[in-house]
């Protein structure tokens, strides 16, 4: 495939002059034929195997072969036919290159940056909880969802933002759909971000509460990051690699050291209650968002990225070596009854809500319309960065799903059921697990906790402990050495590290958004270096997610149980907003016949999010509907009764308040999304009638850069790059000669 063109060619705005014909040689037909056969075999095994020993590798290879085929064929179709990527057209990075925001970046480096920005704890948490439905629904949704929805959204938003000098999602909606849609999108983005931060923080709180080892290791990441920050600032500026090596070594020492908190006499001090952790996180979030970035945020980001890539690679290798068997059923009874203890609701729509990141994540549209589009060197690279980056995140989600599905089912439900159900003790939990139709003894539960040096695993909800337990099983089996406890805390550490990075970066982004919005009416407030504005905006953002976090931690019904659906729906609703923009732009660009590429995922996403929103708001089942839950507890309270799991009148009131807040938020998110959709529809109709409408796309400017399109450069591409570089060198030399020396650039 050759997508490289010589410099100076001009092309049309919408249809690229060169669309590489799929030249399938015999060899490539054979290769892709075998990939298809492998995929088909894996999927058949997954579809037919029931109640017997099924290896987790079937899932892994079903995923990998599906990704390969989707990338090779579908993403190529979208890039060249639907979007019409045009390599004769200069990207914003080339036109506006300033070495800072706009900066032509090597495609593989940019892929790394983009992946590090989109992937965090989300794809690790959702699939773990969705394992309640069995492994099959999650597997199918993660793979099919990413191919037809998630990766498409990321790539198309990236492309359209790139064609508009890297405008943000909100700006594009305002300009291409209208002011009302734009305002609704802005509020939705802000509100959704708050929920996401609260839920992520809740995962950390649940993982660290009552775990002195975890608190010790995670707590030490703060001084480690500070040390790295000062090192880079004062000792050896710019030496990021060496300080990251030092940081990772210290981090590993912190994990190992955690095992000795007992001997150090710190166990009692570090055994924190959930509420103490909430306070710590809120204070941390506030301080982190007003401290200079170099001091805490940037070094933490280096650590987090390094750990992210390292652990994902390790997990892939570990899975192949350990070849674990799936303990979870293909489809569980809870998928049909809708009364699972982890979260309420039936397979449809809740499996699609619980797994957002990894299949379809609206939040990515903010990244794809942020920094990444300003760094792309060639238009054709949107395919590997947008589509490829999301496939990689999906792979992380599949690995997490496998890690959760190889855990003994009794242990899985003991970890993930709320404490109101398990009673918190091995004996009561074992009895509760019995009522679910599984058998486990109190001794087994105690032994499982003992194996990873934790006092208990019962009701350690939130997903992180489950994933860490699964990872410790896989790694112990793969690498041996009886290191289960180390691997467990290693996994907790890496998940908490991601989340804290997301929390401090997110708080900062939220603060900037708030300052920018208020700045529209009070310009002074938008000055990001004006302390009163910075501090008050940070406090507002932290206060909002801190409140939701506190609610989540103290909810007797189980915070994750209540908040996770809200988080998933919010993220998917943001995806609906992003996909609506994609449909709008395709039609406005006169590509009505291809609008289905974004239209089908949009329709599906609206079906699941609106069904789920409807159920969460209006369902008469108090386990699902927020308002019927509210009514149930309110009427009991009116008669002076306590209703399980509440143990006091205060807890009754708490449940009532939380259910009301959650219900109102749920309804608000859905209404904001519908506002965007309904303001887009008239634009679609008008544009469809006229065969297109003018857009804010930047006109064609010829590109001079030559760079390969894909992960691996073809021979033609390499040759073209060599020729280009030779010409560049000659030009530079000639320029120097002409200008003489000493001319400032």
């Amino acid at each position: 495939m050759s997508t490289v063109t010589s410099s100076g060619q001009t092309g049309r705005a919408l249809t690229p002059p060169e669309q590489p014909k799929p030249k399938m040689t015999r060899k490539s037909i054979a290769v892709w034929g075998s990939v298809a056969v492998v995929g088909a075999v894996c999927w058949t095994v997954l579809a037919l195997a029931r109640g017997e020993n099924v290896s987790a590798l079937w899932i892994l290879f079903a995923a990998l072969s599906s990704y390969a085929i989707a990338y090779r064929f579908y993403s190529r179709f979208i890039a060249y036919k639907v979007l019409g990527v045009d390599n004769t057209r200069a990207t914003p990075a080339e036109r506006l290159q300033n070495g800072v925001d706009y900066d032509v970046t090597d495609r593989r480096v940019l892929f790394g940056h983009h992946f590090a920005a989109i992937a965090g704890a989300g794809p690790l948490v959702g699939p773990v909880l969705a394992a309640q439905m069995g492994y099959l629904p999650g597997t199918i949704w993660i793979i099919v969802g990413v191919i037809f929805a998630g990766a498409v959204q990321d790539m198309v938003v990236l492309f359209f933002s790139m064609r508009r000098n890297g405008k943000s999602l909100g700006q594009m909606i305002r300009e291409e759909i209208g002011t009302i849609g734009g305002v609704a999108a802005l509020i939705a983005v802000f509100a959704i971000m708050i929920i996401i931060l609260a839920v992520l923080a809740l995962v950390v709180v649940n993982a660290l509460a009552g775990s002195p080892w975890g608190v010790f290791s995670i707590g030490l990441t703060i001084p480690i990051a500070l040390f790295m920050g000062f090192y880079l600032r004062y000792l050896r500026p710019g030496r990021v690699m060496e300080v990251t090596v030092i940081g990772v070594a210290l981090l590993l020492a912190a994990i190992i050291g955690g095992n000795y908190v007992g001997q150090m006499g710190l166990a009692d001090v570090l055994t924190l209650s959930p509420n103490a952790l909430v306070l710590a996180l809120v204070v941390y979030g506030f301080v982190a968002s007003i401290l200079p970035v170099w001091m805490l945020l940037a070094p933490r980001d280096y650590l987090s990225t390094f750990m992210k890539v390292g652990v994902i690679a390790l997990l892939a290798v570990g899975l192949v070596i350990a070849r674990p068997m799936l303990e979870s059923p293909a489809i569980s009874d809870f998928a049909i009854s809708g009364h699972g203890p982890v979260f309420a609701g039936k397979l449809f729509p809740f499996v699609f809500i619980t797994i957002a990141c990894g299949a379809l994540s609206g939040f990515h549209s903010l990244i794809a319309s942020g920094t990444t589009p300003k760094m792309i060197g060639k238009e054709s690279q949107v395919r590997m960065i947008g589509y490829g980056g999301m496939l990689m995140e999906s792979f992380v989600a599949i690995s997490a799903l496998i890690a959760a599905s190889v855990i003994n089912q009794g242990i899985y439900y003991a970890i993930n059921s709320p404490s109101g159900a398990t009673g918190g003790t091995p004996a009561a939990a074992a009895q509760f697990i019995g009522t679910l139709g599984m058998t486990i003894t109190p001794a087994d539960l105690a032994a499982a906790a003992q194996s990873i040096h934790e006092t208990t695993l019962i009701s350690r909800t939130g997903g992180a402990p489950t994933l860490a337990f699964g990872i410790s099983l896989i790694f112990s089996k793969a690498f041996g050495g009886g290191l289960a406890a180390f691997w467990y805390h290693f996994a907790i550490m890496f998940e908490a590290l991601f989340i804290l990075t997301a929390v401090d970066a997110g708080t900062r982004v939220g603060r900037f958004m708030l300052q920018d919005t208020i700045g529209n009416v009070w310009p002074k407030y938008a000055d990001v270096s004006w302390k009163p504005a910075a501090w008050s905006a940070s406090a507002a953002v932290v206060g909002l997610w801190g409140y939701m976090l506190w609610v989540g931690v103290n909810d007797p019904l189980g915070g994750i149980h209540q908040l996770l659906p809200l988080f998933g729906i919010a993220n998917q609703l943001l995806a609906a907003i992003a996909l609506a923009l994609c449909v709008t732009l395709l039609i406005k660009h006169g590509k009505l016949k291809y609008a289905w590429v974004a239209g089908i995922p949009l329709a599906w996403d609206l079906i699941i999010t609106m069904t789920a929103s409807w159920q969460k708001v209006f369902s008469g089942d108090p386990k699902i509907g927020f308002f019927s839950q509210r009514n149930l507890y309110q009427s009991a309270l009116d008669q002076g009764n306590l209703l399980k799991p509440a143990k006091s009148l205060d807890e009754m009131n708490l449940i009532i308040t939380n259910a009301t807040v959650d219900g109102v938020l749920q309804a608000l998110f859905a209404l904001l999304t519908l506002t965007v959709i309904f303001s887009a529809i008239p634009v679609w109709i008008k544009a469809a009638k006229l065969g297109g409408l003018p857009t804010s796309e930047v006109p064609h400017v010829p590109s001079h850069i030559v760079a390969p399109a894909d992960f691996f450069a073809t021979a033609d591409e390499k040759q073209a790059v060599r020729e280009y570089e030779a010409i560049e060198r000659e030009l530079a030399a000639a320029e120097r000669e002409l200008a003489g020396s000493g001319r400032p650039r």
Binding site: G99, V100, D101, T105, D106, R108, V109, G112, H113, A117, I118, A119, G120, A121, G122, I196, L200, L232, R233, P237, G238, R239, V240, M241, T244, P292, V293, W294, A298, D301, Y302, S304, A356, C357, S361, F363, H364, L366, I367, G370, T371, F498, T501, A502, A505, G506, R508, V509, F512, V528, S529, N571, A732, R736, S741, G742, R743, P744, R745
Partner: protein, 62 residues
Amino acid sequence: MKAAALKAGRGILWYLKQSTGEAKWDEYLERCRNDGVEPTSRRDFERHRAEHNEKNPRARCC
């Protein structure tokens, strides 16, 4: 064999330098050399880059 390993090692080092932004400094020195300008100190250069990050927060997704 040895040549291939060396090449891979160089590739990895190049990738890490690019990803961490360390390469920016080398590129800056190269530009200064080409233009015949006296480069500023590394400390000032990195300060300048940090200043930019301060005003342009990058979101991290979930």
